[in-house]
């Protein structure tokens, strides 16, 4: 670990002032950033611990929820309103990491967690454009079973590892951001960037900007939603494929749907194309499968991850069938 200084402001203004410094990073629960610092992959000179900032989960006037960025993942997953109105979010959170990690990890930190690409982690012995811009990518022709097939670029094929973000992407969540100049909001689906030529730039956040909360709009159909994660062991593993879905069926026809995918893309992947293919169509397994397949029309499989499209299609179909069925 490289030596660093540590600050723990108690309000956003102080955090933003300190966050303007070069080499500053905001720290949530530290469940990812501290690991990366131990490996010297992240080398912030100043850590600004923002866990003292608001982490409450509050009702909003429009019938949604506003989750403070410092809320612990466990608190969100256990929250009564989250479980009742956005069950996919609670399930996505508990599908990730371990109880101990979820107790520490914050919502803001979860948004900004970094990829689990093996070569990103191997700072001493492997090349990674995300870690060292322009260095090259050892994953594209290496072990890439866990890597992305959607949203990739010749520079990077790393997946975004979060489960929570997949549910947030499906739920039309909006990220509240503050900077010294004021505040703005960004849809979760626009927070993460595709890697393109600059995989090292992972979000649209400007230097010093601070995530202060996540708003969940009222979304009645989300009361009937699911998160299913497919992984190499039953617990404590990142997704090979995950599916967050909410479905509203009326008279055998899909009235509305929300669908997002994890494990297959370089960012939490809202399946816009599949949703479009589903709306106002009969809620049949064939249509579910065709819609999911449409989402993968432009998938770019690599040496080891060719199974992911088929797995995602099957899993998506099964999740939608289940939501349509019972």
């Amino acid at each position: 670990m490289i030596p660093f200084t540590y600050a723990r402001p108690t309000n956003a203004e102080d955090a933003l002032r300190q966050g303007a410094a070069a080499g500053a990073r905001y720290l949530g629960g530290g469940t990812n950033l501290v690991d990366l610092m131990r490996q010297t992959i992240e080398q912030p000179g100043l850590l600004i611990d923002v866990t003292g900032l608001p982490g409450a989960i509050e009702e909003t006037p429009d019938g949604g929820l506003l989750i403070g960025a410092a809320a612990r993942n466990t608190a969100v997953a256990e929250h009564r309103a989250v479980r009742a109105r956005y069950p996919m979010l609670a399930r996505a959170i508990v599908a990730g990491a371990s109880g101990q990690i979820r107790n520490m990890a914050t919502v803001g930190g979860n948004l900004l967690q970094r990829t689990r690409c093996l070569y990103f982690y191997d700072h001493a012995g492997s090349r990674c454009n995300k870690r060292v811009p322009g260095q090259g990518c050892d994953a594209i022709e290496g072990f890439n079973r866990s890597h992305a097939i959607l949203g990739t670029s010749p520079a990077c094929v790393a997946t975004h590892p979060s489960d929570m973000c997949v549910a947030l992407a499906a739920l039309d969540a909006v990220v509240h951001i503050r900077s010294s100049g004021g505040g703005r909001t960004v849809p979760l689906t626009d927070l993460h960037r595709l890697p393109g030529d600059h995989p090292e730039i992972e979000t649209v956040l400007e230097p010093g900007e601070l995530v202060t909360g996540i708003a969940l709009p009222a979304l009645p159909l989300a009361a009937r939603s699911a998160y299913r994660k497919v992984r190499d062991r039953a617990s404590y593993a990142f997704a090979l494929v995950s599916v967050a879905a909410a479905l509203e069926v009326e008279g055998g026809t899909v009235r509305d749907v929300r669908l997002a995918l994890g494990g297959v893309a370089t960012k939490p992947w809202r399946a816009w194309r599949a949703e479009e293919a589903l709306r106002s169509r009969p809620a049949t397994a064939e249509n579910f499968r065709a819609a999911a397949e449409a989402e993968f029309a432009e998938a770019r499989p690599l040496r080891d991850n060719g199974f992911k499209a088929a797995l995602a299609v099957r899993t998506t179909t099964a999740v939608l069938e289940e939501l349509a069925g019972g």
């Binding site: 670990m1 492997s126 593993a237 797995l311």
Partner: protein, 769 residues
């Protein structure tokens, strides 16, 4: 001298001392002992210490003025270091020493495991930081000592190296193309031919012939390797995490040109080993750096460090072919293939071991080739050979059973051999059929539907499978023990043996209490010090037998000493060691149990407060007379998602024939632990070595999967409890039998569930789509 009345003592029958050798067919009298401490589910004696965190492990021993070590590792597989810039590290805060090949003390090569040297313990025989040569990707190139662990780690990250890379073989396929050599175990070629198996296969009525693959795996004991050590002049004290204290002491003496008694190795607690925790570079480097710095050193490997420095299980590619008659009898059994190793170690992956002992076959062709890569040396990992060999063999048996249309249990039992198929020796104890029948009944095997893919519970396909477990019973030479008895009735065993979590001290206290006729609470077992008697190895599931035979020898010597103390007027006067027995805290005549004298009285009579005897176990000649193995029948039920290919093991039963069980509680834990590790082997464990660089790219518990709690169902274990009449206590070691057969039982159950036969481990969801 007082002759107590024997009748006033507890009514247990006197127990004679164990035999003075194990080749004569004279069984250990303990075999007949039932209802006492032996076999009881005694809780481990160190359980409280471990729960309270009071058991001090190697990385927890505090030494005055100690410094902390961190390692820097090479990033090429083969070549030379051409630049090694340590200036920034040397100038970093808190740095005490940066050691590289340029300033490391000259050290003599340390003999490797299974090398012709008697006490080899090193993972390989490569030079340790003695020159600029790189032999594997991840080799330590520098040791940094710092005042804190963080300072040492920070400085190590500042070391910059460049290499002149040389062509390296880092691809298994390339290694195979180059041919390799006949693999050998301790000098014996791993090859056996009987008859013309290929011709018999061609002519067979029914045959299977397939290739099975198992991946590289790494050790992930909960305690990463660690050592805390200090020099005092030319004396070296080492608090190590090892399962070979005496061999480590001897090896370090070789490295630094010392006498063996100048090196003291202490390893009272080891947080799991499974084949690791022998001697790897970090220990030698810690000692070298401590000598150079003149400060005590703690070297606790990071998890990544374990992957870079400590070897794991070798990759294998195995062909199994069986030719059978229509009634299931084997005409030909072929098990051949390749395992990956380095040139400069001696550890093969002898995957033909199960085929050498499990089945009668008209002809045999068994062979292991070693193919060579430029990588970290492979090493032992729980049931080396049997764990992966049984996957291939027992999968093939399942495939054959389906082809013949016979129940796989029946097919196995039909081919039970009368004697060892390889050596022709009689089995010392083989009750596999009983284990199968008992296990099948408890598991409900009779309800099995042999049609693959026929049963469904929602999206989950269900199936069951079975496989045979086997592991040899071994007893290494070198066992010795000191047994001390004091007037207050306390007995103490001292052995240079090891406790890695399996309950050594507990089990051996139970045994010794029975031998001496003392209550369990009055017996303690001291271990884990190289200064104690014997050269023990907690490996090959043999330590229980090795200690057991040593304690018998020491006990015989102690009884002889006690009888010498008895005067002419003693009730025991004139009796020899084999004429007396232990009973009720004393000795009595076996012929006339009323002639009894308490140990206290004997010591009193001899005017002694305590008496001590040390003796060595006789050489393991029993292995020349008998084929000695444990066996087991594994039964597994799985659920496989028809949607995602995810496998969930829903039930597992291991029914074992592993001799007399000494402690029903720790034995059950050992067997369950082995089965859990087998589930990892079957479904998830795999070291990813990038073949472009020879580099391990998943050196972390996040990316290298071992079973989590949610992967482990309730595991039922049972045993025949039939003693092996030729083994000390009638017992077999059980550290490894549990993992064997498991991967095949899982694979066979998956086939039964899905109709998909997976011959490549691990069986991940993508292989079942």
């Amino acid at each position: 001298m007082t002759a107590d009345a024997g009748a006033a003592r507890p009514a247990r029958v006197a127990i004679a001392p164990g035999p003075d050798g194990w080749a004569g067919g004279e069984p250990d009298p303990l075999i007949r002992r039932r209802g006492g401490p032996l076999g009881a589910p005694v809780s481990r004696v160190d359980g409280g210490l471990k729960v309270r965190g009071a058991a001090r492990f190697a990385a927890e021993v505090p030494l005055a003025s100690m410094v902390y070590a961190a390692l820097a590792f090479s990033t090429v597989a083969r070549g030379r270091i051409v630049r090694l810039d340590t200036a920034a590290a040397e100038g970093a805060p808190g740095v005490v020493l940066v050691m590289t090949y340029r300033n490391a003390p000259r050290m003599t090569a340390v003999p490797a495991l299974l090398s012709p040297a008697p006490n080899g313990a090193m993972g390989d025989e490569l030079p340790i930081m003695q020159d600029d040569r790189i032999h594997w990707n991840g080799q330590p190139i520098a040791v940094v000592l710092g005042e804190t662990q963080e300072q040492a780690g920070h400085a190590a990250s500042l070391i910059e190296a460049s290499y002149e890379a040389e062509p390296a073989v880092t691809s298994f396929e390339e290694a195979k193309r180059r041919g390799g050599e006949q693999a050998a175990y301790a000098g014996q070629p791993l090859s056996l031919q009987a008859g013309d198996a290929e011709a018999a296969l061609s002519a067979a009525a029914v045959k299977v012939d397939a290739v099975y693959r198992t991946p590289f795996q790494n050790h992930n004991a909960i305690e990463p390797e660690a050592v805390t050590l200090a020099w005092d002049g030319d004396d070296l004290t080492v608090h190590d995490s090892t399962r070979m204290v005496s061999r480590v002491a001897w090896s370090l003496a070789q490295a630094f040109g010392l006498k063996e008694e100048q090196v003291h190795v202490s390893s009272p607690y080891v947080g799991g080993a499974f084949g690791s925790k022998t001697l790897w570079q970090h220990t030698v480097l810690a000692a070298a750096a401590a000598r150079l710095a003149g400060r005590p050193v703690r070297m606790a490997l990071s998890r990544e460090g374990v992957y870079r420095v400590v070897g794991g299980r070798a990759r294998t590619e195995q062909r199994v072919a069986i030719g059978a008659q229509a009634d299931g009898r084997f005409d030909a059994l072929i098990h051949t293939g390749a395992m990956a190793k380095i040139r400069r170690n001696y550890v093969p992956e002898p995957f033909i071991s199960p085929a050498m002992c499990l089945y009668a076959a008209g002809s045999l062709k068994l062979d292991v080739r070693a193919v060579y890569l430029d990588m970290l040396a492979n090493t032992f990992m729980r049931a080396p050979g049997e764990s992966v060999g049984s996957f291939a063999l027992e999968s093939a048996i399942d495939e054959l059973a389906e082809r013949i249309g016979m129940d796989p249990v029946e097919l196995r039992l039909r081919n039970e051999p009368a004697a060892d198929p390889g050596s022709g020796k009689p089995f010392s104890s083989r009750h596999l059929a009983e284990a199968y029948r008992a296990g099948a009944e408890r598991f409900g095997w009779a309800s099995r539907d042999p049609r693959p893919g026929g049963r469904r519970d929602g999206e989950w396909l269900t199936g069951i499978g079975c496989a045979t477990a086997t592991y040899p019973h071994l007893r290494f030479p070198g066992g010795a023990a000191r047994l001390t008895l004091s007037k207050d009735g306390q007995a103490r065993v001292e052995v240079a043996a090891h406790e890695m979590g399996m309950g050594t001290a507990t089990a051996q206290a139970q045994v010794t209490a029975e031998r001496l006729g003392l209550p369990l609470e009055q017996v303690s077992v001291a271990y884990g010090e190289s200064s104690f008697p014997g050269v023990f190895v907690a490996g090959a599931s043999q330590q229980t037998a090795q200690i057991g035979a040593a304690v018998v020898a020491a006990h015989r010597a102690l009884v002889a000493e006690l009888l010498r103390l008895c005067g002419g007027d003693s009730p025991l006067a004139g009796l020899g060691v084999d004429q007396v027995g232990a009973r009720g805290g004393g000795l009595c005549s076996l012929a006339d149990p009323r002639r009894w004298l308490s140990y206290a009285s004997i010591l009193d009579g001899g005017d002694r407060d305590e008496i001590s005897a040390e003796a060595s176990a006789p050489p393991p000649a029993e292995a020349e007379h008998w084929s000695m193995h444990s066996f087991g029948a594994d039964f597994c039920e799985v659920r496989v998602s028809a949607v995602t290919g995810e496998t969930r093991v829903s039930r597992f039963l291991g029914s074992f024939d592993c001799g007399r069980v000494i402690n029903a509680k720790t034995a059950a834990s050992q067997l369950r632990g082995g089965i859990i590790m087998g589930l990892g082997l079957a479904l998830m464990e795999e070291t990813l070595i990038d073949e472009r660089s020879g580099r391990i790219v998943n050196p972390s518990l996040a990316e290298y999967h071992v079973p989590a709690h949610a992967d482990v169902p309730e595991i039922d274990v049972m045993w025949t409890d039939i003693p092996d009449p030729h083994a000390p206590m009638g017992a077999h070691g059980i550290g490894e039998i549990g993992i064997t057969g498991v991967a095949a039982a899982v694979a066979n159950a998956i086939y039964n569930a899905t109709g998909t036969r997976v011959r490549d481990l691990p069986i991940t969801p993508d292989k079942l789509l």
